[in-house]
Amino acid sequence: MTDMKKSPTEQERVGVYVCHCGSNIAGTIDVAEVAKWAEKNPNVVVSREYEFMCSSTGQELIENDIKEKGLTRIVVASCSPHMHEKTFREATERGGLNPFLFEMANIREHGSWATNDKNAATIKAKALVNGAVERVVHHAPLEKIPVSINPNTLIVGGGIAGITAALELAEAGRKVFLVEREGTIGGHMAQIDKTFPTLDCSACILTPKMVDVGQNDNITMLSYSEVESVEGYIGNFNITVRKKARCVIEDLCTSCGICEEKCPQKVVDNDYGAGISTRKAIYRSFPQAVPGYPVLDKENCTYFQTGKCKVCEQVCPTHAIDFEQEDELINFDVGNIILATGYDLFDARKIPQYGYGRLPNVFSSMEFERMVNASGPTSGHIVLRDGETEPKSVAIVHCVGSRDQNYNEYCSKVCCMYSLKFAHLVHEHLPEAEVFNYYIDMRTPGKGYEEFYHRLLNEGTHFIRGRVAEISDANHHADEEGKLVVQAENTLLGIQQRNAVDMVILSAGIQSRHDAEDVSKLFKMGCDYDGFFNERHPKLAPVSTMTDGVFIAGACQGPKDIPDTVAQAGAAASQVAKLISQGTVMMEPVRASIREDECSGCRICNTLCPYGAIEFDAEKEVSRVITALCQGCGTCVAACPSSVIDGAHFTNTQVYAELKGILWDVQEEVIAKQEAI
């Protein structure tokens, strides 16, 4: 930086540049008047207007004026800083000034585009320009903060998103820690029978990837584990993982499955089996589980509940069962984190009028998914709850818990497609059965998706446009007896319809994980209203979060199907790979700092900081900001009773100066009035 030296008493030399943005600004705001008026400010040395400041000629104006007129501060009045702040900071730097000695006045988005009143817009523009001039005078040169990047990565969640991201990074030669809460990786995709629209067998495309994860030397798989704590910041996170006791010694277990076979305790499998199949107390969710070691479910184990049994221990040929095993805490360092924690399905019990949980032949989508799966409890046969009767008619209800102000307002994106898939599977397994799909709108955007819908139209599915009001067993006619009556308004015909069917499938929507908020707090990033993790920018930074070094992939960010999830996982992995290959990152210097000699040690700021970035020096009795942890929100600055915390680039002095500047036209009146009192 070649900052021009000047004595403290010397005034800053500010250059003001008012952009026309074609007619975008100049059409509403009298830019010539604003520029001419700005020159009256005693700090302003040069004030210009130009058609497009962001053009190379516009930027050169700034560069040349800095050099020729000895400017020390730059103000550009144009668009939003979110648009071109970076551009003009760079121009300022090329001119030889520190890039932070620049300020932007947003007279387009906040000015010319927001009103048709030319006079008012011009007054507002003057206020914003004046605010920027008054503020920039107090700017201090700042340096971005370099941070080195640890090349290891933590991936949380072993569904298809986590698996994909882990493999991408591991195959690029990077070390990955993959943490999965369940005993096996695979996630929801492992439960699914077929994938739309290609009808690929889900397990057939997933399990090879699971095996790859298990065999890749760069991947440390921590299954049946949860992240306990996250300390640090981008490039330098310290992670503690709780590896829960599965009561199986992994080094000895050969995954032979004898313990599982001999275990006398059957348990309803509410997780993988969606509640329609059973497993043992010592179990693997499915035969292709990775890792192949079983998990002992202490809550249902006869030995842990009654003190007697130990059958598994007796039958294990390698003596791998260890009832005394305890949770293990594993600590390691990583540079980046990818969260791929997935989703929960909407619980259809919350809609009592649909009868799920009360009417036996109302099935949830995951129950149906497991039932129709060849490895499911009925070996893929579609039957009613009695376990033998094949339904002659099936109603599939879309949008259960989605697009509904009472539950989730958003569209879950995947339900139309999987409902169509269900319809197809019913046709395939039971060619005689009638299928009724109740939909609000048919949403099939995606490659080959609309074509799949057309295929179903030709397969003879009945499509009824209308939200189902009620599903009941209250029959009005003889032919409704013993059946489920689906009541809906057919909005295409404009009539109320009763339809008696044997089986109803509720296509439940996607929800954020029940503990998403806890997870977001653990990783110090934000959730939206619905509990989905917030991306940094909805369009241009969809896998980054507001916390540097933490990325998101898959349905934890919002409802999405497998292709989108895989694409996002790849994107997150490449973001991480980019940071690793950069080696260091430069962080914005918007950070708080405490003037220790003036700090009273009250510790008010210590607990306010959402990042735990303020530590207390007990010896000196002062608080101190850990710069690398500070994110620059400034809440401590606002709270400090002694005003000894400075928020770089948003100091009190700067904000007060801007305030005074933007109130230029009312300020004088007020002072006059105040003096009159």
């Binding site: 939003s80 800083p81 979110h82 947003n106 387009r108 988005e109 906040h110 000015g111 585009w113 927001a114 009103t115 048709n116 009143d117 008012a120 817009a121 007054i123 507002k124 206020a127 914003l128 605010g131 908020e517 707090k521 110090k524 934000g526 959730c527 939206d528 209203y529 917030n534 909805p538 507001m546 306010l608 959402p610 990042y611 994110q631 620059g632 929100c633 400034g634 809440t635 600055v637 606002a638 709270a639 928020g647 948003f650 009190n652 904000v655 007060y656 801007e658 305030l659 005074k660 933007i662 109130l663 036209d665 009312v666 300020q667 009146e669 007020v670 009035k673 105040q674 009159a676 009192i677």
Partner: protein
């Protein structure tokens, strides 16, 4: 002939949600009262109640503090801290005879340009109905009285 009174409102907009909401309002060419003069802060949690007082003292007729929705704060919960400070500040201001419409807190996400614009329109009309703040009459006078009382004691 009487002129229409145009109040001046200072807006403290957080960088991530409400400032972007105002950007979006502009981009979408939503027209709203030009009475708002925005100041960007990184987080609504940065808004020191003294900023609001200083705004009033410097001639503003109203102050709008706008942040992300609860639970959506980019700094975890800075907006909740803003809410706490705002609630206290408003009570304090009321005791000085400053109407509660003059300081308002708004949640506007980056996609809620319409909500921000509507809030500015509403606030402008509310303050227009109240008339100028007259900080001098309301606060400085009582400050003088307070000083007098202190001196006398």
């Amino acid at each position: 002939m009487s002129e229409i009174y145009e109040p001046v409102i200072v807006g403290f907009l957080c960088n991530w949600c409400s400032y972007r909401a105002a950007d979006l309002a502009g981009t979408a060419r939503i027209k709203y009262a030009p009475n708002l003069r925005p100041i960007r802060v990184m987080c609504s949690g940065r808004v020191d109640p003294q900023f609001v007082l200083q705004a009033f003292r410097s001639g503003a007729d109203g102050v709008l503090i706008a942040g992300c929705h609860p639970g959506e704060c980019h700094y975890v919960n800075g907006n909740i801290k803003a809410l706490r400070r705002f609630t206290l500040l408003r009570k304090t201001l009321e005791q000085w005879g400053i109407e509660q419409e003059r300081v308002q807190l708004l949640w506007a996400s980056a996609s809620e340009g319409t909500i921000l614009a509507a809030a500015v329109d509403r606030m402008t009309e509310e303050i227009r109905a109240l008339g100028p703040l007259r900080w001098g009459d309301k606060v400085l006078k009582s400050e003088d009285l307070l000083h007098q009382a202190v001196e006398e004691a």
